[in-house]
Amino acid sequence: MEIAVTVNGQLRRADVEPRTLLVYLLRETFGLTGTHVGCDTTHCGACTVLLDEVPVKSCTVLAVQADGSSVMTVEGLETDGRLHPLQSAFSDHHGLQCGYCTPGMLMAAWALLRETPHPQPAEIRRALSGNLCRCTGYQNIVEAVADAAQRMAQEVG
């Protein structure tokens, strides 16, 4: 099936089997390998992307379902070579170790901050509870997201 998806602001077309999962459209057809696969039962969230600005598990969306939609992946977070405050904060607070869950975490956190600009730690933990991390124990991720929220508030000023 022919589909057209706006990925990180660029309109892209592809011819896919109906069974192609969105995550493989991104990784294999479009070469955007920042979005990862960590399980086969919709639990881990390593594949989290924004579909029309809503974070979803791209392993559990068919590529054909994204036809006509916009998708943002970790590769779309930087603007004009400037890191998103979340990206900087993850590094500043050591919110990543092996890095495999990181893109999904960043996308879920992005959506949280858009809806809740000043989240409490418990709200951050809840918002990230669809994303598993095996390395960090989450604590530094929570700190990073809280700090990014502050930085974004200052930027808006």
Binding site: E17, R19, R27, E28, L32, T33, G34, T35, H36, V37, G38, C39, D40, T41, H43, C44, A46, T73, V74, E75, L77, E78, L83, Q87, S88, F90, S91, D92, H93, H94, L96, Q97, C98, G99, Y100, C101, T102, P103, L106, I124, R125, R126, L128, S129, G130, N131, L132, C133, R134, C135, T136, G137, Y138, Q139, N140, I141, V142
Partner: protein
């Protein structure tokens, strides 16, 4: 907050990780991100039965599917002598099953096709006719006379793999017989799985024209993998290049060689095209290497005052269908003999029997230095039981029995020489942080109101950094590790090591070690690992061995470079070598600090203006054979509250004070502690790879194998004491595994402490709420 990479004198500082720059942008390159021209995909056909004879395999329908290039069975491999492969533990394992299967999800056939989806389609078309056999699931039953013999290939036929023991059985039994108090407990550490977020996988790229195999693989030990491969496949070792790209977590899962790897390599060689195999999460949890599964019985003796007298441990170790542990050759039960822990036992004895069952193979060290978690859990649980029997505060019991600082180096009754430690200081720091006395007071008040609050303690000692060549090898290869260090003419450094990080931050921490020795910044030092064509030989990253071995190699290599640099500096400064002083960033003549040269200036001279008669260049290579292991330790205190209605446990506080010697990067160390505590929490409360009576795996995916999310994970409080290792070049010990080794007992001891007034001394993990409820219900105290 992280400090920048340009920070001078970086050792001991929270330097920003170099790895982050690519990983936060989604620019890591993990195995599955790699695509080679003409690459095909492999899927495995797996057994639905735990134990069955294979009557017939029909691959015709699968082979006929358009887009399928190859179907492999065990018979095909047998013809090439590859139906079996050696395990790192000295056993052997079927690559693709011949004649019979020995565990559910065992690899039976491999299909190679144009796409992964197509390979899965074809795998579903392979028809296998099985004759089910009775499964042996319980390891105790496996040892009973008359139990079916699982491994018919073994001689003599027996389900017992090995018997191992350490210590003095007779003296221990005699001491127990004389003891005023003896506590006996049976403690099970169930089968769990490391489950790194990235599953295992490989791409085999074989070029028939040159006979060269490039093998990309999720590997914690690429050099060992190359050597094993040379042995298994008969490919000359110099024609094998193993590349371990960015690795998405390992925790011991990525040490062994798996059947899927061998199948991919055979397929690539047959087809002369690259072949990728990436396991699914289900395959990961069901077939590629579990950990633990230790069934332990402990007897601990003490005099009436609570001074310990003797320790005796007997263990049944369930290794599944093949002994696929990755233990050092002389240690079939790993370093389990650390089981005397932090306590000064006059005498001890430990024995372990390894057993075959119809379960997935393994026995890997999951975030653990070879069975140290099992040992630590056992002794810390036993100390809790002993404290209960004696009516002593568990902290007081520990303070009474700690190996005192003046006894280091301490010779344990099971044969180890502990390098350093100050257990009392570490525990006292933890008690202070958590406010131990006040908590006991609060607990007394809550108990009076009928509430269930518990305080758990674990004061563990680990043994990491395998290991000294006189004792440690894997398949004969000594367990040294290495660093090759080059200083370029402009003073920038390339360092290559034999280890392979999977999130531990070596690119940063080893750069810090080297930069500190050379007066540079971490930014000046590029650390590379994971490519066997370029990195020096080393045994890899697991068992918290990287810092004790490769980290030591890095420091020593840098010092060798600095020694040469000193001679060049003398030449540049026109003074005698003995008159050159190093102030940490510059060489200068003694007494004249203003007139100095930097390492960058010396480096340039090494290539442009070396002293007469001196070989040009500035390099150092070290293969570091550690004189001893290192013994990190810690004191963990945990506070829990139990809901009497649902029996859910709430971890209210957890204080972890770790002593890992000299700290290279406190931010990275703290991150390691957080991660390990979280995995320990999961093991205590959530995780078990369980089986039913037919040997069906009951936790084959993340729906049933429970990985905690940010919501369940407690907030961790960390602190440290520093007792440097006297034999490590910078005094560092390993730390990545301490929290996973030390914490499970702290959680369980807290729950038992809460239930102790009800007469409860033990519950098996994972501590699901229903297990606690059954106790509360029986005692009539459930809501």
């Amino acid at each position: 907050m992280a400090l920048e990479l340009s920070e001078p004198r970086p050792l001991g500082k929270p330097i920003r990780r170099k790895e982050d720059a690519r990983l936060i942008r989604g620019q890591g390159r993990y195995l599955d991100d790699i695509v080679l021209p003409g690459m095909l995909h492999l899927a495995l056909v797996r057994s639905p039965y735990a134990h069955a004879r294979i009557r017939r395999i029909d691959v015709q329908r699968a082979a006929a599917l358009p887009g399928v290039h190859l179907v492999l069975t065990g018979q095909d491999l047998a013809a090439a002598g590859l139906a079996w492969m050696p395990t790192l533990a000295g056993d052997r394992q079927m690559v693709l099953a011949v004649d019979k299967v020995l565990f559910q999800y065992q690899e039976v056939a491999a299909v190679v096709a144009e796409s992964r989806a197509l390979a899965e389609d074809a795998a579903a078309l392979v028809e296998v006719d099985y004759e089910p056999l009775p499964a042996v699931v319980d390891p105790y039953r496996a040892l009973e006379p008359g139990s079916p013999i699982l491994r018919e290939d073994r001689d003599p036929p027996s389900n017992r793999i090995f018997h191992w023991e350490a210590g003095d059985r007779a003296a221990t039994e005699a001491a127990l017989a004389r003891s005023a108090v003896v506590v006996r407990e049976t403690v099970r550490m169930p089968r769990v799985h490391p489950a790194p977020l990235e599953p295992c996988g490989c791409i085999a790229d074989y070029q028939r024209a040159t006979g060269r195999l490039t093998w990309y693989v999720t590997s914690q030990a690429p050099h060992a993998h190359r050597t094993v491969l040379a042995m298994v496949a008969g490919i000359p070792e110099h024609k094998i290049r193993v590349v371990s790209p960015d690795v998405g977590g390992g925790f011991g899962n990525k040490v062994p060689v798996f059947p899927g790897y061998v199948a991919a390599i055979v397929a690539a060689m047959r087809l002369n095209r690259p072949v990728k195999w990436v396991e699914t999460r289900t395959e990961n949890l069901t077939s590629t290497n579990f950990a633990r599964d230790y069934h332990m019985t402990v007897e601990i003796g003490a005099d009436a005052d609570g001074k310990v007298t003797a320790l005796k441990v007997s263990t049944i170790a369930d290794h599944g269908a093949f002994d696929a542990a990755a233990d050092p050759t002389r240690f079939p039960a790993g370093l389990f003999s650390i089981v005397t822990g932090s306590y000064d036992f006059p005498v001890a004895f430990a024995e372990v029997d390894g057993v075959y069952t119809n379960k997935a193979p393994g026995g890997v060290a999951y975030r653990c230095s070879f069975r140290v978690t099992e040992a630590s859990f056992l002794i810390e649980r036993a100390m809790q039981s002993l404290a209960l029997r004696l009516g002593m505060d568990p902290v007081a019991l520990r303070l009474k029995n700690f190996i005192p600082p003046e006894k280091f180096p301490y010779h344990s009754p099971l044969g180890w020489t502990y390098d350093s430690g100050n257990y009392r200081a570490t525990l006292e720091r933890a008690m202070e942080r958590i406010g131990y006395a006040a908590l006991r007071q609060e607990q007394a008040e809550r108990r009076a109101r009928g509430e269930l609050m518990g305080i758990g303690v674990s004061t563990f000692t680990e043994i990491v950094g395998a290991g000294p060549s006189h004792t440690f090898d894997i398949l004969g290869i000594k367990m040294f590790d290495s660093c090759e260090l080059r200083v370029h003419p402009t003073g920038k450094v390339l360092a290559r090591l034999g280890t392979r990080h999977q999130g531990q931050g070596h690119e940063t921490t080893f750069a810090q070690v080297i930069a500190e020795e050379l007066g540079l910044t971490a930014d000046d030092v590029l650390v590379e690992e994971g490519d066997t064509d370029t990195a020096p030989y080393g045994l890899g990253t697991y068992a918290s061995r990287s810092t004790p071995t490769a980290g030591a190699a890095a420091a020593v290599a840098a010092r060798r470079v600095r020694d040469k640099a000193r001679r060049i500096a003398a030449h540049l400064l026109e003074v005698a070598e003995d008159d050159v002083e190093w102030d940490g960033t510059r060489f200068h003549p003694a007494g004249t600090p203003a007139r100095g040269v930097t390492m960058a200036e010396v480096a340039l001279a090494a290539y442009t203006n070396p002293p007469p008669g001196m070989e040009p260049g500035l390099e150092g290579t070290v293969y570091y054979d550690p004189p001893n292991l290192t013994f990190p330790n810690g004191a963990y205190l945990c506070v829990v509250d139990i809901d009497k209605g649902t029996s859910q446990v709430h971890v209210r506080r957890f204080v972890a004070v770790d002593d890992c010697g000299t700290v290279i990067n406190p931010m990275v160390v703290e991150g390691q502690i957080h991660g390990g505590l979280t995995e320990g929490f999961a093991i205590a409360f959530l995780q078990e790879i369980a089986f039913d009576e037919q040997g069906n795996c009951l936790a084959p995916n993340f729906m049933e194998y429970l990985v905690p999310t940010a919501v369940e994970t407690p907030q961790w409080e960390t602190d440290r004491t520093v007792t440097p290792s006297p034999h490590h070049p910078i005094g560092a010990k390993g730390v990545g595994e301490s929290p996973n080794v030390g914490s499970p007992a702290a959680f369980v001891n807290a729950v038992i402490d809460a239930l102790a007034p009800l007469g409860v001394t033990h519950l098996d993990i994972p501590l699901y709420p229903w297990k606690i409820w059954e106790v509360l219900h029986e005692r009539g105290v459930a809501e």
